[in-house]
Amino acid sequence: MIFEHFPILIPISLLLGAMVSAPVGIWKRKLTYPIALLASSVALFFSAIGLVYVLNTGTHHYYLGNWIPPIGIEYVVDSLSAFVVLIVNGIGFFVMIYSHKSLEREMPGKEVPFHTVALLFLAGLSGMVVTGDLFNLYVFLEISSLSAYALVSVGQKRAPVAAFRYLMLGTIGASFYLLGIGFLYLDTGSLNMLDNAKIIPLLSEKGLVLVSLTLIIVGIGLKMAMFPLHLWLPDAYTYAPSVGSAYLAPIATKVSAYVMIRILFAVFNPEFVSKYYNFTDVIAWLSAVGILWGSIMAIAQNDYKRMLAYSSISQIGYIGLGIGLANPLGFIGAVLHILNHALMKATLFLVNGNIFYRFGTTSIPMFDEKLRKKLPYTTAAFTIAALSMIGIPPTAGFFSKWYLVLASVDKNNWIFVIVIGLSSLLNLIYFFRIIEKLYITKKSDITTNEDVRMNEVPISMLVPTLWFSILVIVLGIFNAYIVDYILKLAIPSGMI
């Protein structure tokens, strides 16, 4: 059955799409978009198949070219990776639908390279998720990063500089990761994750492993924009084209967070990283600081996109906090927040794209009632996502916070509980600032009394936006099923 090959088919279909779409696009430009969409939908299809398959038959080990690990490269899809890869391709597919019209407006004539790079980006991310090999992960990491730099660089005037900075820090992160697995390889003689998981507990001398773990955490932390390694993020998100940041923000950092989870809890084990050595505590505390710092910086921003960038830092902090708590509830909170934040940020960045499409700017001071009258559905989508960011039930954002609160209480760490609560209120400030502007008629507008007609963005942009915002509510209400049937299976063994 071809379905058994789904782990490789997901990245391959995207890679193939990228390879085909570029030459075909040079020949006939109009064909690029359908090809890219086809590739992305095939990847989405196989991701969905993968999740069903894994839930029915358990973890799927796929040996590339039938080489048995640790000699060959192994792809492992368990419920966690199937879940994350579905998020990646789900977001990717709908953003790709969205990107067509937005690109026509923002960078006419550059659709071919953009779609190709976007496919490469998704391929890299999907590969990072499904692979079970540490070096293979590095390769996919670099594929996704290089395409991410490209996605950023085609944006506004300052974008290349932001992209260059991103490239510098990203390369440092990747190099640290490479160095880290080098050390690990020296000690264990294997690059296979599961193999390493078996060998590491047997080592009598842990020094080398500790160095390697530290290097990997710093490296992945940079990619994930974990506080205080987030410096590349605000500029990159702000100056990227709106579609570029819509690709980047929801999934790029989340996949790195997933890698962090994998390395900490699957390659190493929860006891090792939280009990014997306090890696997770450091991550949790840094994330807690990041949550507050990101929220406070977000309040200070005047540009909608930049505000979202800082809010991303704070939201990544939630994921980091869940990872750092290193208990089952924290794990659930972190992984659920990967999903929730992906949806919320996708909505918010697509809203950003819509506003930019109609108004050519996303500066918050110019937001007013006219914007709502012109873009009523976009505004509604924004409101839902904003409520979810604040954490109002029954939107999705509430529930990941709920699990994180439970996890913090369970750990008896009240400071984290306070941080989560406080950050909700800070989110309230910076989102209601905008909601007020959008919904309240200004006195000056009444006097001018001009009739603003509804003028929504094209349907191919509107539908993805609304789709994500509806998912924010629906997946919020049905989160328990995700948690019970998918995430609980994925809780790493040895986590108490």
Binding site: Y138, A150, S153, K157, F164, Y185
Partner: protein
């Protein structure tokens, strides 16, 4: 102690390279110099892998009577070296992307100096 030092001299060199590379990336004003720093950093890591798998009086793990291998420890683990082929490709690609970015930046701002860039971007 001396033996230890001499035995690991390659690693000290690599650490030195790594620090030079990082320092260049973080503190050099010129973006091109940053890029060179990045290349030094990547080279140091490549060297690290290569050194870690190098061995005197040893040869490739091929079962060939001409090589006169008596015991398995005379084989070299080829994996780190092959991995580095990939890493070199990645590093070249990264350099390529970075250079492309630098060209765009220079065209737009007419400078590669970080301070001047910040000045011009205001």
């Amino acid at each position: 102690m001396t033996d230890y030092f001499i035995g690991h001299v390659a690693y000290y060199f690599i650490i030195l390279l790594l620090i030079i590379g990082l320092w260049g990336m973080l503190f050099k004003r010129n973006l091109l110099k940053k890029l060179i720093g990045m290349n030094i950093l990547q080279s140091s890591i490549i060297l690290f892998y290569v050194v870690s798998a190098s061995k005197y009086n040893a040869t490739v793990p091929v079962l060939n009577p001409k090589l006169k291998v008596i015991e398995p420890s005379q084989y070299i683990n080829p994996l780190p070296h092959t991995l580095m082929l990939t890493a070199i490709v990645v590093s070249v690609a990264t350099t390529g992307v970075a250079l492309a970015l630098l060209i765009v930046i220079y065209k737009r701002f007419n400078t590669l100096d970080e301070n001047e860039l910040l000045e011009k971007m205001k």
